[in-house]
């Protein structure tokens, strides 16, 4: 589905405003007017608070669009991915790090699942099925397995994969290695897309908690630590 050129910045476009139409618009108008009247009748701090909030409902109904709804909506690209995959919702996250190593070295590490497994958290191990397919198994719950298949592999530059699992949500992504300008090193951009469980509710939960985004960021940092220092940086309480 995805290709690097098409999606380099497409995932960062945001949904600024969301349309308010049809029944929602009438409900917003009616509820807002009713709330204003009730709030003014009640009076006091609570009453005025209710009236102001209800006024916002009227405002969005008159304008026919809502910024708050926009902030809670999937981005245009996430909607596009969901439609293309026939998913209820799609979550797309991307992070980049610059690693102070040549891109060939980073590509080789990423291409070797047993090495990649050393940096991933939560801990998992891999079984090579064939040159392009790897089975990833969660250490804490071996029933949770993921069959990851490479669909695009360009030496030293780019890897793209899709996954298949009964126990985990559909998941795909790509990683691109690019020479950093000026100071050397390699820019590593990783992009992941998956279908959250429970549709839009799951999407909101993941976005609100930072779930997938934090997971990807943390793992990319661990990859960078391992490649640059030879260690995964660690601290433990009391030690």
């Amino acid at each position: 589905m995805s290709s690097e050129a098409r999606h380099t910045l497409s995932h960062t476009r945001k949904q600024d405003m969301a349309p308010v139409t049809g029944v929602e618009r009438w409900a917003s108008l009616g509820g807002g007017l009713w709330g204003i009247a009730g709030g003014l009748r009640k009076g006091g701090l609570m009453g005025w608070g209710q009236a102001i909030l209800s006024g916002m409902l009227v405002y969005r109904a008159i304008k026919g669009e809502c910024r708050l709804k926009g902030a809670l909506s999937a981005s245009p690209y996430e909607k596009h991915v969901a439609e293309a995959h026939h998913w209820q919702a799609a979550r797309v996250v991307s992070h980049s790090v610059t690693v102070n190593k040549p891109r060939e070295e980073l590509y080789r590490f990423w291409r070797a699942p047993d090495k990649l497994a050393e940096v991933l958290t939560p801990a998992m191990h891999s079984e090579q099925v064939d040159d392009r397919t790897t089975r990833w198994i969660l250490d804490s719950d071996p029933a949770k397995q993921l069959l990851v298949r490479l669909v695009d592999d360009r030496e030293g530059e780019f890897l793209e994969w899709v996954s298949d699992s009964e126990a985990l949500p559909p998941f795909s992504g790509w990683v691109r290695f690019q020479d950093a300008p000026g100071r050397g090193g390699t820019e590593v951009q990783c992009y992941v897309t998956y279908e959250p469980a429970k549709g839009h509710l799951g999407y909101l939960a993941d976005k609100g908690s930072g779930g997938t985004s934090h997971w990807l960021h943390r793992n990319l940092r661990r990859f960078k630590q391992k490649m640059e220092t030879g260690e995964i940086t660690a601290s433990r309480p009391f030690t």
Binding site: N100, H214, R218, T229, T233, S235, P237, T239
Partner: protein, 390 residues
């Protein structure tokens, strides 16, 4: 081992904890001989720095002896007398290779919090919250030092423990503040805050060519030390209008370089500003009380430099950006990349140009840790620094 732990806002206790172990090949375990309190710890104690967990070990400025070194450590072995730089570098990332160790990309094992808060993951620090790595601090019998070849330094023969201890944090912080202020011969430098870091910034400013240094605080004992040990002109902001005094001392120009060594819990000489800042901080509408920084910006001469060393964690209200722009000020800041300066600082000490040992006004056992911090916090008995001997 025994360790002084944070248990909640203004609650400390000494606990028995498991000894630290080597986790990575580049780690070293140090037996702590001396470990100092620091003004920045008070922000943890007062609950202004998030992501502290009950049981976290405090302390980031220490001297000790190597007891165990990992297989990847090449420069240290058992018995070496060492200090550790409190802000951790890895030595391998691009910032570290540019000698910007306090911008290290790799030393924080919990990078997400600061990535979200500040836009980028910040470096790891001993004993300074989980946002900065969750490393156990040095107020303990033992401490684990990651990337030891980068962050540990042997203390040269002839330098006493008392002189070497503060090369771990207070001296390089003050030195860094003076360095980034771009002091030129003949400059007048004003330093806000005469705690340990401020005292070292005063001395460093002279070492870098300042003609006169003006020290600002409200505690007479600290101003006395700034005058006596640092050779500064001391100004008590409860007795003087600081802006007027600074203009008077500089022919109306204002100080060429201003160094803020106060940070997020500044008191203001103006009662209204003080009440305003405290109220907003208490209501969590801002995290910083910025009176010292505002005053530094207000008083700095046109085209001058403001160097910010004080600890700031989040957001400040009424930041005078108009003065920064219209007076063409340069602002510089940061945690100290002490690894860059240690050798030079030890040379200053050996040459008799710098003696930080006077910062250690009080010593205590680790078991007396909570009382030591109470004394330090309330500045009782003219306390500048309490040093624990675990």
């Amino acid at each position: 081992m025994r360790a002084l732990t944070w248990q909640g806002t203004n609650r400390l206790s000494v606990e028995t904890l498991p000894d630290p172990e080597l986790i990575n090949p580049r780690d070293v375990i140090v037996r702590v001989k001396l470990s100092s309190v620091c003004g920045s710890d008070l922000h943890l104690l007062d609950g202004y720095v998030p992501t502290m967990h009950a049981g976290d070990v405090l302390g980031h400025e220490f001297l000790g002896e190597v007891v165990e070194a990992g297989s990847g450590v090449t420069q240290f072995s058992r018995g070496d007398r060492v200090i550790a730089i409190s802000i951790l570098g890895c030595g391998d990332c691009q910032p570290c290779q540019r000698q910007e160790f306090s911008c290290c990309d790799n030393s924080n094992p919990n990078p997400t919090f600061t990535q979200e808060l500040y836009g980028h993951a910040c470096t790891g620090i001993f004993g300074y919250s989980h946002a900065f790595g969750g490393y156990a601090g040095s107020h303990a019998t033992y401490v684990r030092v990651p990337f030891a070849d980068v962050n540990l330094f042997k203390v040269p023969e002839g330098i006493s423990d008392e002189k070497a201890l503060f090369v771990s944090d207070a001296v390089p912080t003050g030195y860094y503040g003076a360095d980034i202020a771009d002091i030129e011969p003949g400059d007048t430098v004003a330093v806000w805050g005469c705690g340990g870091v401020g005292q070292m910034a005063i001395r460093s400013a002279y070492l870098m060519g300042a003609e006169q240094v003006i020290a600002i605080d409200r505690f007479e004992d600290r101003l006395h030390l700034a005058r006596k040990q640092g050779g500064a002109i001391g100004l008590n902001y409860t007795q003087h209008d600081i802006h007027d005094a600074l203009l008077s001392l500089t022919g109306g120009r204002g100080p060429d370089r201003c160094i803020d060594c106060v940070g997020m819990e500044a008191h203001s000489e103006h009662k209204l500003e003080d009440v305003y800042d405290r109220t907003k901080q208490m209501m969590r509408l801002q995290t910083e009380r910025g009176a010292a920084l505002r005053q530094a910006i207000h008083s700095c001469r046109k085209g001058g430099t403001v160097s910010v060393l004080g600890v700031y964690a989040g957001f400040m209200d009424k930041f005078p950006i108009g003065a920064v722009v219209n007076k063409a000020l340069t602002m510089k800041s940061g945690q100290q990349p002490g690894q860059r300066y240690v050798e030079r600082i030890f040379e200053h000490i050996q040459a008799g140009e710098l003696d930080p040992s006077y910062l250690m006004t009080h010593t205590a056992s680790l078991e007396e840790g909570p009382q030591g911090y109470a004394m330090f916090k309330h500045k009782s008995d003219d306390c500048l620094r309490v040093v624990f001997a675990p």
